[in-house]
């Protein structure tokens, strides 16, 4: 029964090794998807390259469906799997700030590491900036502490809030994603920029 390491009490060393291997897979897939290019990532917001949309949602859907099927087969105990904790206010504020950072810097932490690995200097500067940003947060933490801890509702799942089965919600998300892909592909044709696409 999964998740394997927590259930079978496997030692932390194995957990760390698996973390490394997962990271390998993560980095490899990201780079293969082309996420090591800030111009490609930013492309989603201008319509000339919606790779981010495709990869992101396909990955989320694949894992989502995978978990549902594993659960049905009795191979995983979903109550152990980590579900992101609900702190609504800090999630929104943090998300907005990250959004600005995304469009200004053209990376997110995961892709920046990936890009830095293949030599993108702007990615390295992004990573440096991130460290500074985290440091800034830590130093000024007392100003944000209250916001950071507000409105805690535990590990809230959307399917509980909407009172539907996980599978039904997954179907809705898949259909929505299909629509988004279709719109996105149309946008790519309309806003396509050959000059940029050649470079990335």
């Amino acid at each position: 029964m999964g998740p394997i390491i927590p259930v079978h009490g496997i030692s932390e060393e194995w957990n760390l090794l698996i973390a490394f291997l997962i990271g390998l897979g993560f980095g490899f897939s990201l780079e293969q998807a082309g996420f090591s290019s800030s111009r490609k990532l930013a492309g989603m917001f201008y319509g000339y390259d919606i790779t981010v949309l495709k990869v992101f949602f396909t990955a989320a859907i694949t894992a989502m469906l995978g978990l549902i099927f594993l659960n049905y087969l009795g191979w995983i105990d979903m109550s152990i799997v980590y579900v992101n904790q609900y702190y609504i206010q800090s999630a929104i504020v943090g998300g907005v700030i990250m959004g600005v950072g995304f469009i200004a810097g053209g990376f997110c932490p995961g892709t920046s590491v990936c890009a830095a690995a293949i030599g993108k200097i702007d990615a390295m500067f992004f990573i440096g900036g991130s460290l500074i940003g985290i440091l800034l947060f830590g130093e000024t933490y007392s100003l944000w502490e209250e916001l950071y801890n507000k409105n805690f509702l535990g590990s809230l799942k959307l399917s509980s809030v909407l009172n539907m089965k996980d599978g039904v919600l997954a179907l809705i998300i898949v259909l929505m994603a299909m629509v988004m892909f279709w719109i996105g592909e149309r946008a790519e044709k309309k806003f396509g920029r050959e000059d940029i696409m050649k470079e990335v």
Binding site: P6, M78, V81
Partner: protein, 204 residues
Amino acid sequence: MKSRVILAIILVSLSAIAAILPQKKNSALQLNAEELLQEIKLGTYNIGPDQLTEIIVNKDPSYMLIDLRPASEYEKFSLPGAINIPFDSLFTENWIMYIDQDLRKNIFFTNGGTLSSTALVLSRQKGFKNNFVLAGGLNRWFETVLNAKPPANSVDTEALKIYQRRLAAQQYFKGGEALPKNDVQIDLKPIPVRKKKMVQGGCS
């Protein structure tokens, strides 16, 4: 173009199937067949008639007696303080909170003991702790305690002590005074519920 359509069809079909599937709750604490067999052989969750006597006499609040027989039988006679959960209703929504819990130790009992043993095995299979069974049921308890026979070997002090305790219990159940506490050990170790270790995730 073709490959995208294929992918779309695959994803939509898979999610349609996912939507229809019943939502299960798996617990990592479920036991498999070998573990279960081992527990049955060792009688890990059995309670003997003398232990039951002590529990009743001591009025120990950490135990809960559960009568699995039909309501009609429960009404005619049951153990003092016992609640009635007919066997068929044991794992239904109304009653499962009594079984799947870590507040008290439950003792299942029936007349002959077979059905209560089955109930125990089922609850162990689900990974519920804190459920025990009166081995041999009420019948064996009556025979051993309420109709206690003096020990064959009258020199055996241990057996004599047990017999005298049973005699005292008979008086108690017939409406006598409360019994003094016995130094007989009720060897039911409180079993801590194995807490599922929470996995860290997200940013930390």
